[in-house]
Amino acid sequence: MQKPQRTILGRVSAYADEATGFLRRRRMTRKPFARVYHPGGRSAAFSSETAEGRRLFAAAADLIDAAG
């Protein structure tokens, strides 16, 4: 029979592996996006194919350049 602390450590280790995998998959699949939020919790997302999205991405790129 395994010692109780081994069981707990194994479980924590499994959760950590799951979290690492989730973050890795998230990084691989995440694409650029633009999301704006309005009063009352309403939000809207814009892709880079729309005119509004292009303007948002261009303005964000300029801001990122300012940060160096």
């Binding site: 309005h38 809207a44 509004e52 999205g53 801001l63």
Partner: protein, 150 residues
């Protein structure tokens, strides 16, 4: 030979307290008029520094006034002001009403902006920064700045 002093007569303070409340009200009235929040200079600069300490993924940020000019920035204030106000203007134009906050994630980094009580903070962070934490920190810094200024 022991030296003695004459006892110091105790002043009645009630009169002075009354005087303070009745004769100095104009001073407090002036203070109230001049209590326009000091949202410039040192306070905004310390807010920028505080946000940098709170958010390890932050590359830079700026505090913008309602008219869009930068009160303080981690770099070139003029450039941060124009770029930040352009981002907010683009977000406002994308919808039918002004935005409260926005998040744009690109390949090169992530841009955030948040408005609160006439001020705005714009920030740039590394990719994959957790947006909820960034907005929380930005909101906390702006609230502190407004509270200090009030």
């Amino acid at each position: 030979m022991a030296r003695t002093r004459a006892p110091i007569p105790q002043a009645i303070t009630t009169a002075s307290q009354d005087a303070r409340s009745s004769d100095t009200s104009y001073m407090f009235a002036e203070m109230a008029v001049d209590a326009e929040p000091d949202r410039s200079g040192a306070s905004a600069q310390s807010a920028v520094a505080r946000l940098g300490e709170m958010s390890p993924d932050l590359r830079g940020c700026a505090i913008l006034a309602a008219d869009g000019h930068a009160l303080a920035a981690s770099g070139d204030a003029e450039r941060w002001g124009s770029a930040g106000s352009a981002l907010l203007a683009a977000a406002d134009a994308a919808g039918d009403e002004p935005v409260t906050h926005l998040h744009v994630a690109t390949e090169d980094g992530e841009a955030f902006a948040l408005r609160h009580e006439g001020l705005a903070v714009v920030a740039v962070a590394d990719r994959f920064t957790l947006a909820s934490l960034m907005f929380f920190d930005m909101r906390a810094v702006l609230r502190d700045l407004i509270r200090e200024a009030a």
